[in-house]
C-alpha cells in the first residue's frame, strides 16, 4: 500500500493535472448539452476556460467589511477540491495520496470546503450572503448523512473504506446488479445533484435572489477569488462524477503498476464523463427547480434509499 513507485507518483500528479484541466471542460460540456436540449444556441465548449482567464485578469473588488477569512476562503476551498480529486481514483488506483483520506475523510473534505464557503458568504454581512450560507448548511446537513450511508454500503461490500480498495474490489466482481448497489447509486445521484447546486435543488445559472443557494454565497466575490471558486465548483462536479463512476462503473480504471492500462484508462474516462455529463444535462432539463423546503424531502428520500441499500446488503446479500 505504502510503496512509492514511479508510476504511482506519475499517476498521482497526472491525475491532479488532469482534474484541473478537465473539470472546466466537464462544466462546459454539461452547459452545452443543456443548451442543446433546451433548443438554445450552445456556448462554445471552451467557454469556462475563457471565463476563468478573464476573471483572473480582473482586479479583485473587495467589500469594505470583508475580513481576511473572505480572502483566504477561495484558496482553502480550492485546496480541498484538489485534495478530493487527488484521492478519488479516476485513471488508476495507484495513488500515493490515497491513504491520506479514506471515503469518510473524503466526506470530511467536502464538509470543510462547505463550512468555509458558508462562512465566507456570511463574512461581508449582506442579506444574500447570510441567506446563502444558511441554505448551504441546510443542504449540507441533509446531504452528508445520505452520502455517508452510500459510502457505508460500498464499504461493507469491499470490507474497506479506502476508496481505492473499494474500486479494486468492485472492478473484479462479476457483472451482477446487486439491489444494494442500485439503491446506493440512486441515492448517490440525488446527493450529487444537491451538493453540486444542480437543478432540482439549486440552479447554477440563476440570479433570482429568492431561489439561489450557491450563487448567493459568492455574490460578493470578484476577480481571482471568483475564478478560484468557479474552478473549485467545477472541480467538485468533476470529483463527484469521478467518484460516482469509480463506485458504480469501476471498469477501465487501471490498477497499480500497469502502465498500459493507465494509458488505456484516459479515453475510457473521457468517454464515461461525456456520457455522464449528457445524463446530468438531461436530468436537469426534464426537472423543475424545487422550492427550498422541498429539498429536505428530496434529500430525505436519498437518505432513506441509502439506508435501504445498507439494510438490503446486510439482510439479503450477506452471504454473497
Amino acid at each position: 500500500m505504502m510503496s512509492l513507485s514511479w508510476t504511482g507518483v506519475f499517476g498521482q500528479l497526472f491525475a491532479i493535472v488532469l482534474a484541473l484541466a478537465l473539470a472546466p471542460l466537464l462544466t462546459g460540456w454539461v452547459n452545452q448539452c443543456r443548451a442543446w436540449l433546451q433548443n438554445r444556441k450552445a456556448p462554445p465548449l471552451l467557454q469556462p476556460y475563457r471565463m476563468l482567464h478573464k476573471l483572473f485578469h480582473k482586479d479583485v473588488v473587495l467589500a469594505h467589511g470583508a475580513s481576511a477569512l473572505f480572502r483566504f476562503a477561495p484558496f482553502i476551498i480550492f485546496g480541498c477540491m484538489v485534495l478530493a480529486c487527488a484521492i478519488i481514483p479516476s485513471l488508476s488506483t495507484d495513488l500515493p495520496f490515497a491513504p491520506a483520506a479514506d471515503a469518510l475523510a473524503l466526506v470530511g473534505v467536502f464538509g470543510l470546503a462547505r463550512i468555509f464557503i458558508a462562512l465566507a458568504g456570511m463574512d461581508v454581512g449582506t442579506s444574500f450572503g447570510t441567506l446563502g450560507g444558511r441554505r448551504e448548511m441546510l443542504i449540507g446537513f441533509l446531504a452528508e448523512p445520505a452520502l455517508l450511508m452510500v459510502i457505508f454500503t460500498m464499504a461493507m461490500i469491499a470490507q474497506s473504506t479506502s476508496v481505492t480498495t473499494i474500486v479494486e474490489t468492485l472492478a473484479h466482481r462479476e457483472l451482477v446488479i446487486y439491489p444494494s448497489i442500485a439503491f446506493a447509486g440512486l441515492a448517490f445521484t440525488m446527493v450529487s445533484f444537491a451538493e453540486n447546486a444542480r437543478v432540482p435543488v439549486d440552479n447554477p445559472a440563476t440570479h433570482l435572489e429568492l431561489t439561489m443557494i450557491h450563487e448567493a454565497m459568492i455574490l460578493e466575490y470578484s476577480g481571482r477569488h471568483l475564478a478560484l471558486l468557479e474552478w473549485a465548483a467545477s472541480l467538485k462536479l468533476y470529483a463527484y462524477s469521478c467518484l460516482g463512476l469509480a463506485l458504480f462503473f469501476p471498469w477501465g480504471i487501471a490498477e497499480r503498476d500497469n502502465l498500459l492500462a493507465m494509458i488505456a484508462a484516459l479515453p475510457v474516462l473521457i468517454l464515461k464523463l461525456t456520457i455522464g455529463g449528457a445524463v446530468v444535462a438531461l436530468i436537469e432539463t426534464i426537472n423543475a427547480k424545487m422550492r427550498i423546503f422541498r429539498a429536505p424531502e428530496f434529500l430525505g428520500t436519498a437518505f432513506l434509499l441509502a439506508v435501504l441499500g445498507l439494510l438490503v446488503r446486510l439482510l439479503l446479500e450477506s452471504r454473497v
Binding site: 505504502m2 483572473f56 485578469h57 482586479d59 479583485v60 473587495l62 469594505h64 467589511g65 475580513s67 477569512l69 484558496f75 482553502i76 480550492f78 485546496g79 480541498c80 485534495l83 491513504p99 491520506a100 479514506d102 469518510l104 475523510a105 470530511g108 464538509g111 470543510l112 462547505r114 463550512i115 458558508a118 462562512l119 456570511m122 463574512d123 461581508v124 454581512g125 449582506t126 442579506s127 444574500f128 447570510t130 450560507g133 444558511r134 448548511m137 441546510l138 449540507g140 446537513f141 452528508e144 448523512p145 455517508l148 450511508m149 457505508f152 470490507q159 474497506s160 473504506t161 479506502s162 435572489e209 455574490l219 481571482r224 478560484l228 423546503f293 439506508v307 439494510l311 446486510l314 439482510l315
Partner: protein, 666 residues
Amino acid sequence: MLAIDALLIAACLWLAIGLAGLAAPRNMRFVAKTLFPLGALVGLAAGFVGLGSLGGPAQTAELVIGLPGLPFHLRLDNLAAVFLLLLGLVSAGISLYAAGYFSHDHGINLGALCLEYHVFLASMLMVLLADDAYAFMVAWETMALSSFLLVTTDHKHEAIRRAGFLYLLVAHVGAIAILLSFGVMTGGAGDYTFAGMRAQHLSPFWASIAFLLALFGFGAKAGLLPVHVWLPEAHPAAPSPVSALMSGVMLKTAIYGLLRVGFDLVGMTQWWWGVVALGVGLATAMFGVLYATVQSDMKRLLAYSSIENIGLLAVGIGLTLLFHSYKMEALAALSLTAVLFHCLAHAGFKSLLFLCTGSVLHATKERSLGKLGGLIHRMPWVAWLALAGVIAGAGLPPLSGFVSEWLLLQAFLFSPGLPHSWLNMIVPVAAAAVALTAALAGFALVKFYGIIFLGQMREPGLKDAHDAGPLEKVGLVWLMGLTLALGVLPSTIILKLDAATRQLLGKGLAERVTESGWWLLAPISPERASYAPVLFLATIVATLLLGRWLVRTLYHGRVRRSPAWDCGYHFQGPRAQDTAEGFSQPIRRIFEPMFRMTRHFPSIRDRQPIYTVKVEDHFWYWLYLPIARLANAVSALITRLQGGRIAFYLMYSFVTLILLLLVARP
C-alpha cells in the same frame, strides 16, 4: 517519587493556592496574576505525571484522613491516568486564561472564587484517584459543591440562583444513584473498596441494577437525557472559565465513572446494557444538537453542543459494551479508543470555545447572538482561535473532532457479525443517526461563528470591543495547540491511550497503529481504512500556497475596496443580515415536533410590529413540571398531619413505635 505521590502533592498545592487566595481576597493582582498561573503550572505538572504513568503498573496509596478505621484508598491505573492527563493539560490552559480573565472582572469576591476554583480542581483529581466508594463519594460531592458555588458566583441575579439550585438538585439525585450502585456492587459484603467490588461475583440481575443505577447517576452529571436540564442552565450562568472547566473536564469525570463501573467494577457485561447506552446516547446526541442549532445565547448553544458530545460518548460506550459482551474485543477496543479520544478532543475544543465566548462577553457585555457580529475585525486573535474550535467541534478534518468521529464510524462499519440479526440492523441505523448529528453540529457551529465573528456589527457599541489580553491569549493558544496536536498526530496519542484500553478490555490497537507508521492512522489495517492527517493538511496547505503564488505570478495581486454589491440593493444596514433566529429557521421548520415553540406574529395593523419566537424544552413540561406538581401535592397532603399540637405529634410517635414493635417482633 511515585507518580501517585506527585499527584497528591499537586492536589495539596491546589488547595494551598486556593487558601492563599482567601488570605488576600482584595488583592486582584496577586490572586489573578500570581495564583492562577501557579495553578496552571500545577495542572501542567499533573497532566504530565498522568501522561508519564500511562502504561506503567497501577500504584496504590492510603490516606489516613476522614473517619477512624476508614482510610481513603487511592489508586492510579491507566484509566485514571488518561483522565488525569485530560484534567491536567486542559485545566492548565483554562487557569492561564482565567488569570487574565478575572484580573478585569471587578465586583466579585476573587479570593473566594480562587478557593472554590482550586478546590474544584483538586476534587476532580481525587475523584479520578479514589479507590473506594467512601473516598469517591467525598470527592464527588466536594466537586459538586465547589462547582455549585462557582456557578453561583454572580448570585445577585435570580436566574443564576435558580440555575445553581437546579444543578445542585440534579447533582444530588445523581449522587444518590451512584451511592446505591456502589452499595449493590459490594454485594452485601460490607467492603466498600473498589478491590472488594471487583472480587464480588454478582448475579446478572444485580449487576444490571448496579449498571443502570450508575448509568443514571453518572448520566445526571454528564447531561444524558432526560437528566440534562441543568446543563443548559448552569453552563451559561457560570463565569466562562468555569463553564469551560465544567464542560471540558467535569463532564468527563462522569464518563470516567461510567467506564470505571461498566468495565472494571461490575465485572460482567450484558449485551442489552450496550443497547440501552446506545439508545440513550443517540437520543441525547440528536436532542442536544437540534437544540444547539436553535439557541440565540452563545453559551447556551455551546452547552447544548456539549450535551450532543456527551451523547456521542455514550454511543461509543454502548457500542463498546455491545462488542465486549460478545467477546469481539478488537472492535470493542476500537470504539473504546474512540470514546477516550473524543473525551480528550472535546475537552480541548469545547474549553477553547467557551473561553472565546468569555472574551466576547468581556469585550461586549453581550451574550445574545443577535446583538453581536463582525467581531473578527476587533478581536482577530479570538476569532481565528475560535475558528479552530469550530472546525474541530464540527467534526471536520484535519482537527481533533474528526478523528474520534472517524474511529466511531469505523467501529460501526465493521460491526456486522453480531449474533442477532436485528442488532445488525440497529447498528447501521445508529450510524446514520451519528452521521446526521455530526452534520447538524456543523450547522450549529457555523451559526455560532458566523453570527458572532463575521458580518457587520449589529450594535454600534461593538466598535469599542477589544481583543483578549496576553494571558488569555496564551491560554487560548495552548488549547488550540492541543486541538491541533490531537488532530494531526492521532496515532501517537492512540498509542498512549492504548494502555487504558488494554486494562479494560485486554486488547488494544497498538500493534496496528505502530505497524503503519506515526503519520498514518490505520486501526484495522491500511487496506481497510486509513487516514493520514499530516498528508491531508500538507496537501491543502501546499495547494493553497502554490495556488496563491501561481495566481500572483501569472496574473496580478491587485485589490480594490468598495461598498458591498449585494445585488445592487442600496440599504445594507446590519439589520439586513440573518439573525440567530433566522439562521435556525430551517431547522425549526424541519424538526418542528421536536421543539416546544411559542411564536408571536404581528398583525398587519400593528404600529410597532414585533415577531418573537421562544423555543423551550419538551422535557421540562412533560417530565419535570409533573414531578414538581406531584411533589407539591404530596407535601400538601403531608401538611395535614401537622396540626401544630404536641399531643398529636406524641400520638404519631406512639403509633409508629407500636407498629415498629409489631413488625420487628423477634
